[in-house]
């Protein structure tokens, strides 16, 4: 039996504008993420990290290259198919939490199931809230939750459909170090105990150290990778990359 990567991109290219003003946000990225792996994507600001996530999620169409989710090529999918892909095979966690303000924590977590036309599975939703440590906050509205708690609700919501990949764009960007640790430990735990595949964009070497692998992007290209990262090693590599970019820019 062959196992496909949970997410795979080949020759992924995304260009904004054309002519001399064209911005090559992604310039041919080849990456594969094995099921149950936790990968951090790092790189200087503007290196194409968010663009990569957006293309993988079908929110942006790549200019060239392919995106495969669970071995299925989704590059040419129409908008309907992309929508189905998002709600069935992908989970999202963003810096800005993205909860619906008029739904309680429990209702927010169950929302993707309802959107997919399934009944909100109470036991499953409760189980996830318990997993993220918010069982006692199930009936609170987002405004009554702290930033870290809101992000934990967002993680529970991303996990509820058992997605092939959980995509996270700077999930701890708006959180303090202690709260960030809780959120990262939660992502790590979902990989270890649920076999969840996680791809996380981050600026923070400490956050990246929670991952199995770090991939470095520079100017829309993969500029290196590091297995079994530590915060110090990642920070050192980043400083080096920064130097690289400055040389390229001058």
């Amino acid at each position: 039996m062959t196992t496909h990567p949970a997410l795979e991109v080949t020759g992924l290219t995304r260009t904004y504008g054309d002519g001399p003003n064209a911005v090559h946000a992604l310039a041919g990225v080849d990456l594969a993420f094995a099921p149950g792996s936790f990968t951090a994507v790092m790189g200087p600001s503007g290196s194409g990290k968010s663009t990569f996530l957006n293309c993988a999620a079908g929110l942006e169409r790549p200019s060239a290259g392919r995106v495969l989710v669970d071995g299925r090529d989704v590059t040419e999918d129409d908008e309907d198919a992309r929508t189905r892909l998002r709600r069935e095979r992908l989970g999202f966690v963003f810096q800005g939490f993205h909860l619906l303000p008029y739904l309680t924590a429990e209702q927010n977590v169950g929302l993707p199931l309802r959107l997919a036309g399934r009944r909100s599975d109470r036991a499953r939703v409760r189980g996830l809230l318990e997993r993220v440590g918010l069982a006692d906050r199930a009936h609170h509205l987002p405004t009554a939750l702290s930033g870290g708690q809101q992000q934990r609700v967002a993680i529970a919501r991303a996990l509820v459909t058992e997605p092939a990949v959980l995509l996270a764009d700077e999930p701890t960007g708006a959180l303090d170090t202690i709260t960030a640790h809780e959120v990262l430990a939660l992502l790590r735990d979902s990989v270890d105990t649920l076999g969840q595949t996680v791809v996380m964009v981050t600026h923070d070497p400490v956050a990246a150290a929670y991952a199995d692998t770090v991939v470095f992007l520079v100017d829309g290209r993969v500029a290196g990778r590091m297995d079994g990262p530590t915060a110090d090693a990642v920070a050192g590599q980043l400083a080096h990359l920064d130097q690289l970019t400055r040389v390229v820019a001058s």
């Binding site: 957006n54 929508t83 998002r86 963003f94 993205h98 008029y102 309802r114 764009d169």
Partner: protein
């Protein structure tokens, strides 16, 4: 501060365009009747002066009440929508006072320009109105149009002051409290209603009901058959505006009551039910004009019908009075309809980010559109129900006064027609508001 106001004006085109249209139309309506009052104050016979004064002040006065209410509620939406931005400005160090000045500057620009343009429309509109009165023989042919700068200036001042007052009240609400709290409130869109607003609403409803009682007990027995009409004719509008003032409160109660049932219809109804009941201020702004539209149209049209069946057709004053009534109704209907459409456009435009979030989570464009339509359905249903209840304040006492009994003898299809038309209008308004947003997917950064 003014530069910032300009920039933010351009940023919120839809919401500001809605305010602009409401104010312009409102100023045109009030101004047209104000020119009649001014004409009446000129060199005309005592009879003509009386007719013009009644037209200008009574009819115009009623129109003004509705128009000003609508302007206030539309401006309320725009200012409320800025709560999140206000919170941000507060966090980066703007004082509540600075923020209020920004909000007021923006409101002043929009209402000022719109009111002046509306007054320019009012001038010829008043001319046409007077010509209609002359042709209908309601004033003598010798009456010359006397509308001028005075009437128009009063109109502009009145409209702009109302707008600024509404903006100031809402701005005070959104800027008060510590900076972080401002953001939290913005996200919830909930919040309590102020006591004075509840009081005003209750007083209006109470006054309308009292007038209804007076009609049945006193004016029904008056020798002048139109005495009953003068006490009951405006009751439906009064009670309607009173209920509209209480709209966030009523929406929360009533939509919470029907939320479980609507929620069982599927994810679309489920989202709509929670949105309306947990953020009643948001859609309360749409509910208000729906109530006034239904109450005014059903109440006054039934009134005219009852009068026509009983004595109106044979009475010398009947035609004049019913022309006036129809004029008022027409005015209310057109205006309230415009406000419903505008209010929906403004509310939906302000929710773009939230609807986008739904798409991101895997809602199809159809699901998003239907959830907004379901909200519109809930609002329309509740609004029509409340509006019809309000219309009873006119219909029942007048029917009793004219010996038709509690239930009028005819035209019972009329309220049904008004209800169906209002619901249809609300749904169409919602649909066009969502469609105007364009595609909701795209990169998230």
């Amino acid at each position: 501060m003014t530069g910032l106001a300009w920039a933010s004006l351009r940023h919120r085109v839809t919401a500001n365009a809605s305010t602009f249209v409401s104010v312009l139309l409102g100023a045109a309506l009030i101004g047209a009747f104000a020119t009649l009052a001014q004409t009446g104050a000129g060199e005309v016979s005592a009879d003509d002066a009386e007719t013009l004064r009644i037209m200008g002040i009574v009819v115009g006065g009623w129109g003004s009440a509705i128009v000003l209410f609508s302007v206030a509620s539309t401006l309320g939406i725009t200012v409320r929508q800025r709560a999140e931005e206000v919170g941000l400005l507060r966090v980066v160090g703007a004082t509540p006072r600075q923020v209020r000045r920004l909000v007021l500057a923006e409101a002043a620009v929009v209402t000022g320009v719109a009111a002046v343009l509306g007054a320019l429309v009012a001038w010829p509109a008043g001319f046409v109105l007077l010509a209609l009165l002359r042709n209908g023989g309601m004033v003598s042919d010798t009456v010359e149009y006397g509308g001028g700068p005075a009437a128009l200036a009063v109109t502009v001042v009145l409209v702009v002051l109302t707008g600024l007052l509404a903006a100031a009240v809402t701005a005070r609400r959104t800027t008060g409290g510590p900076a972080t709290l401002a953001i939290a409130e913005a996200r919830s869109g909930a919040g309590r209603m102020r006591w004075w607003r509840v009081l005003i609403g209750l007083l209006l409803v109470g006054y309308g009901v009292a007038m209804a009682v007076v009609t049945i007990t006193v004016t029904a027995h008056d020798s002048d058959p139109y005495a009953a009409m003068s006490t009951s004719g405006s009751s439906s509008i009064l009670v309607g505006i009173g209920l509209a003032t209480l709209s966030p409160l009523l929406l929360r109660w009533l939509s919470s009551a029907c939320a479980p049932a609507v929620g069982r219809t599927g994810v679309v109804g489920w989202l709509a039910a929670w949105n309306t009941s947990r953020r009643p201020h948001l859609l309360g702004a749409v509910l208000a004009p729906v109530i006034v539209l239904t109450a005014g149209a059903a109440g006054v049209l039934m009134l005219v019908g009852i009068d026509h069946r009983t004595i109106g057709a044979g009475h010398p004053e009947g035609d004049t009075i019913n022309l006036l009534n129809n004029l008022v109704t027409g005015m209310i209907v057109v205006f309230a309809a415009v406000v419903v459409v505008n209010a929906f456009a403004a509310v939906v435009a302000g929710r773009r980010a939230e609807l986008q979030r739904l798409r991101l989570l895997g809602a199809t464009p159809t699901q998003v559109e239907r959830s907004v339509l379901a909200e519109a359905g809930i609002v329309a249903g509740i609004g029509v129900l409340l509006g019809l209840v309000a219309s009873l304040a006119t219909v029942v006492p007048f029917a009793v006064a004219r010996d038709e009994g509690v239930v009028p003898d005819g035209q019972l299809w009329l309220p049904v027609l008004v209800a169906v038309a209002t619901v249809a209008l609300t749904l169409v308004a919602a649909r066009s508001a969502v469609r105007r947003l364009g595609p909701l997917t795209g990169a998230v950064r």
